[in-house]
Symmetry: C2
Subunit: 276 residues, 2 copies
């Protein structure tokens, strides 16, 4: 094939389909399972009280198919029920750890424009969890790929290096100190934090996506290189796999409902790969 990458879309129940995927073959799993996206009737309508036991066999398969240095990002948010936040998400974290997953980090998606509404006992929910799990402590991470422009601080002050930083740097033993300072002086980008402040954009598409392209894009940049493989076992309308294709990553998307599967197929077909 010219492009060198492949995009596989599979119609079916990921509890079964995942069994056919080879072990240690996936670099990044990025997914937003039902309930995070309110698809209540999918998968027979999982009740919150049975969510953990429903998810665990899937977690086991994901653990199998992920490469040792790969990463699993789970986008999820518990619903409020009877005036309380339900506990199935935090229970799931504890159970996935028992399965062998490392709970490496919890990123926050801070939604710029969240769903409107008003309730007597709570405000609008403007954030979701992006739980990071890994198989080992030494996973691939390409931090430079997601650096962001420096804040007002340096833009206004012409990238001044504080005296403290100079002293701290000078005090370190060994060679290479001058080079490091030079790098600092010319730097205009900084590493991001574990909070992603993104809008939930719905424009330019005729359906409402669960999350904006920028969300999977950020994690694909951070945890994979071109030619790596991204898996989304709950593909939905195909955002993750479509973005993966655009970024020249191999994609495997699994979706149970024909309606979503066909939508994803057509959306992904339309998406061109980025030029080399």
């Amino acid at each position: 094939m010219m492009s060198g990458i492949s995009t596989r879309l599979i119609l079916g129940d990921c509890r079964e389909v995942l069994k056919d995927i080879p072990a240690s073959s996936i670099d990044l799993i990025f997914t937003s399972p039902p309930y995070a996206d309110r698809r209540k009737n999918t998968y027979g309508g999982i009740s919150p009280d049975h969510y953990v036991e429903w998810f665990l066999p899937i977690g086991q398969q994901l653990l199998r198919v992920l490469k040792p240095d790969g990463t699993f990002i789970l986008n999820i948010k518990e619903k409020a029920e009877n005036g309380e936040r339900h506990t199935y998400v935090i229970e799931l974290i504890l159970e996935l750890r028992k399965q062998g997953w490392l709970w490496t980090e919890e990123f926050i998606w801070h939604k710029k424009n969240c769903y409107p509404g008003k309730w007597p006992n709570r405000f609008r929910d403007a954030w979701e969890r992006l739980l990071q799990f890994n198989k080992t402590r030494h996973f691939k991470m390409f931090q430079e790929e997601v650096m962001v422009p420096m804040g007002d601080w340096a833009e206004k002050r012409l990238k001044n290096l504080s005296q403290t930083d100079k002293v701290r740097d000078t005090s370190r033993v060994g060679s290479g100190f001058g080079k490091r300072v030079a790098n600092w002086l010319e730097r205009d980008k900084v590493y991001p934090t574990n909070v992603l402040y993104l809008a939930t954009e719905t424009k330019n598409r005729n359906h409402s996506a669960v999350f904006p392209d920028a969300l999977p894009e950020w994690f694909i940049k951070l945890f994979t290189k071109e030619g790596d493989t991204v898996l989304d076992p709950f593909m939905g309308s195909g955002t993750t796999i479509r973005v993966a294709k655009r970024m020249r990553r191999n994609g495997i998307g699994i979706e149970l409902l024909p309606k979503y599967f066909e939508l994803a197929e057509s959306e992904i077909a339309k998406e061109p790969e980025r030029l080399l």
Copy 2:
């Protein structure tokens, strides 16, 4: 008493002191307990593995002293250890529910300026949890008190004003157009979300763990009225109780260490109550 409100500061271990506080007498508990293994030289550094069992007796007392329609806000963040996020905070949530607490909501404090640093496997941590617990589903909440002056759309409307209009507006003080702009600013208030985007406090160098006044202030406005009572069992340098005094709420602050107790005393003494 002229002021009509009282501020009680108690030097001692809250595990003991709380027993002397009458049942159902507190409207709001806002506290930031020592984080596991932090402030070792001060609180003796509770180890992560024993954090839950250390906190539970305190949770029991807090449940007793809180009014049925009162609220308990717990500011906390788990540390990273051996490359993983520790689970003691989410375990604490589960255990507090077993104690009878309702886990009503989880607010996020998105820190504008988080601690710097770089590691091979994670980014800077820019958020903390503000866990909301209640005794009943029908608690006091004064949402109008924390409405934010400008929503996104109002902000955009102001930005869309031409520069000429802005100049004309400032040059014609009291003109009809100027009043309308002022009205936009005053009138277009929207309810906030469950994410608070605030900077940490860096000016107060006497205590290592100060959150900005705006943090307790927001929750005091949201969950209490003038004359209500606010409790902070881990007072530290006294931010919560000082803000409560300024806002004409009764305050009860408990602190174990004489050093912080005296600091809190002097800071709170300096703080004037807001005029009626």
